[in-house]
């Protein structure tokens, strides 16, 4: 592996983790689409700062401007939402394209000398990231993008580590947070600033569309796999890294866009979790339903036998052939239920005449009391 390949993967992995961390809270607050809004709207901040303030595209001022634009976007969406004239999804849909368009126009109109084009903003170009070096006194310290995203990752980790309790409380129950004196608005806007900073750092490397993929897909995937917030955060990071690395090699073999392949991999990992997650996956749910169906049929059978037990009609009611007509069971299904119940010792089958065992009687009684 050349150092360049390694560097690209390293950058991608750092971007993925940096995005996944705030993404967890966006997903839990049901604000996933806010990442879309922020990652696009920051363009206007970057463009304005690059054109009117500094021509240096590596200036930290750009990050400040972008973060401010991100927070502005969130406030605008909330203002619109508060008018109650339009709903939040529409408010997001109105706000960020408008801001983004202004950014596009600014770049087209004024950014002749500035190296900033809309393709790069949307798609990024990870393959070129290693060429942009971070040098201090002529010492090469590695790719600039790695440093920028490394710092942003640290900021995210520190913020979440310090305010973990507050983030959890505000996300779960904002009202309680407010009554306890933790301002939900403060925590919320702190988080949105983080999302904006992460988006502006990441868009340079991977483009704004992949920012959305990396912020939302790994947390949603992790959500299906665990039911603890701390584990969800950890898993999101891992899934992000896995998507980044898998995406890189996919792109390598298919000679495709790295960012595009990484985005694809986030979708693949999500699809796998959706199908095969241990408890919440579609397969697990289907199997649980099927076993519940058998379980329920068995209970039904014991209750049926129990309620006719010792009565004159028992001879007729407790016959295996009778089950299909009385309980509306297909003959095959009835046979299978009887076999299962017999195997588990709930009933005895004497040439079609069914009798409850003591165990079966207990089961019926238990089910009736519930």
């Amino acid at each position: 592996m050349s150092s360049e390949t390694l560097e690209i993967q390293l950058i991608a992995a750092v971007v993925a983790v940096a995005c996944a961390l705030p993404g967890v809270f966006l997903v839990l607050r049901r604000m996933a689409m806010m990442s879309d809004a922020i990652s696009h709207a920051i363009l206007v901040g970057i463009a304005a700062a690059a054109i009117f303030v500094t021509e240096d595209l590596t200036s930290p001022l750009l990050i400040v401007a972008a973060a401010a634009t991100g927070v502005l976007t969130v406030s605008l969406v909330e203002l619109l939402n508060q008018t109650r004239l339009i709903r939040e999804d529409a408010a997001i849909g109105i706000t960020f394209p408008a801001l983004f368009s202004v950014g596009v126009i600014l770049i087209a109109r004024y950014a002749g000398d500035v190296h900033l084009d809309t393709d790069a903003v949307l798609l990024g170009e990870l393959a070129f990231a290693p060429f942009n070096r971070f040098e201090v006194l002529e010492y090469d310290l590695g790719p600039r993008a790695l440093w920028v995203m490394g710092v942003i990752l640290c900021v995210n980790v520190v913020f979440i580590a310090f305010f973990y309790k507050e983030l959890k409380l505000v996300t779960f129950d904002a009202n309680l947070a407010a009554t306890l004196g933790f301002s939900p608005a403060l925590v919320h806007y702190g988080m949105m600033t983080l999302v904006s900073i992460t988006a502006v750092g990441a868009f340079d490397a991977v483009g704004s569309i992949l920012v959305v993929a990396l912020m939302i897909a790994p947390p949603v995937t992790a959500y299906l796999l665990t039911n603890r917030l701390s584990r969800m955060i950890g898993l999101s990071g891992l899934i992000g890294v896995a998507s980044a690395v898998a995406g890189y090699w996919f792109a390598h073999h298919q000679d495709a866009s790295i960012a595009g392949s990484m985005g694809l991999m986030t979708g693949v990992f999500f699809a796998l979790a959706l199908l095969f997650a241990p408890n919440r996956g579609i397969v697990a749910i289907a199997r649980r339903r099927a076993s519940q169906r058998w379980e329920f049929a068995q209970t039904m059978l014991t209750i049926h036998l129990f309620s006719h037990e010792g009565l004159p009609e028992a001879e007729r009611e407790a016959h295996v052939n009778h089950l299909s007509s009385h309980l509306h069971w297909e003959p095959d299904f009835a046979q299978q239920v009887v076999r299962n119940a017999e195997r588990r010792g709930f009933i005895r089958n004497r040439s079609g005449r069914l009798n409850l065992t003591e165990q079966g009687r207990e089961m019926a009684q238990l089910a009736l009391v519930k």
Binding site: E166, D173, A177, A178, R228, L229, M232
Partner: protein
């Protein structure tokens, strides 16, 4: 029962809340003495939840003043526990019962400090009190409605407050849980706590509570249950819609509009002194 003598636990003066020009609460006065177990009852849209939320600083008032033991809520928040409506949070949130209960200690911890073994211990004790200790490590999405409510109560218990506000704690819970909650409320009152509970079921007011506030945008009446919870006051609060209480088929048609024309029933309030304002 402790006696906090001259100050009320909760004082609400001339409180008006509106969404745009639509009044939700009109000029409400309410004084809650310490140590009572009070129900707030009234029809849907009467402003019961809003009243609690204003007192807790969650909703802004258009006018009026709220105080907790004579001071503003933000100075006294450590004295106040809150049980919101069960449906107000996302029960699919990835966390455990124990974690949710420990959130009640967050206020005492303040910013940044993390809960530790002390918080854990008090959360487990509270879960014990509501009969949920065995489920401490269960994921909250696996709880029944009654269990969710118990978790919220346990969370309020660890706040170790003097005053508790509860928003419909009996909503959608089974009979066992309802009895357990009532026992818990009465135990808290016996410890001298003040409890204000938004309640829906008029049939149980007399059994469960010692005080009641009847609310329908305006405060209709407030005081001890045996003095205030009268048919007349209920009519004033609910208009003609309380036929189920006395089983008579037809209510007089004019009671429909009475809450809008008749003043709050001052007579009952003055008899107890509860409705009177402290010095304006």
């Amino acid at each position: 029962m402790k006696n906090y003598s001259d100050t009320f636990a909760i004082e609400v003066e001339d409180l008006t809340v509106a969404y745009r020009d639509q009044p939700v609460l009109w000029d409400v006065d309410l004084n809650v003495p310490a140590g009572v177990l009070m129900a707030i009852v009234g029809p849907n849209g009467a402003g019961k939840t809003t009243l609690i939320k204003v007192i807790l600083g969650l909703v802004r008032a258009a006018a009026g003043r709220v105080s907790i033991y004579g001071q503003s809520y933000s100075d006294q928040r450590r004295l106040v526990g809150y049980v919101p409506q069960r449906g107000s949070v996302d029960w699919d949130f990835p966390t455990s019962v124990l974690d949710v209960v420990m959130m009640g200690r967050y206020g005492a911890l303040g910013w940044i400090r993390r809960p530790g073994s002390r918080e854990r211990r008090s959360a487990l004790e509270a879960l014990d009190k509501v009969g949920m200790r065995d489920l401490a490590h269960r994921q909250i999405s696996q709880l029944s409605g009654g269990q969710q409510q118990r978790v919220f109560l346990a969370r309020a218990l660890v706040q170790d407050a003097q005053i508790y506000f509860m928003d419909e704690p009996f909503q959608g819970v089974d009979a066992t849980t309802e009895r357990a909650i009532v026992a818990l409320l009465q135990e808290l009152r016996a410890e001298g706590k003040t409890l204000v509970v938004v309640h829906h079921d008029l049939q149980t007011v007399v059994d469960y509570f010692d005080s009641v506030t009847l609310l329908n945008v305006r405060r209709i009446a407030s005081g001890p249950v045996n003095e205030v919870f009268t048919e007349t006051n209920l009519r004033l609060t609910y208009g003609g819609r309380i036929a189920f209480l006395n089983r008579t088929e037809d209510q007089p048609a004019e009671t429909q509009n009475i809450p809008h024309v008749i003043k709050p029933a001052k007579v009952e309030n003055d008899a107890t002194g509860i409705g009177e304002r402290s010095n304006p």
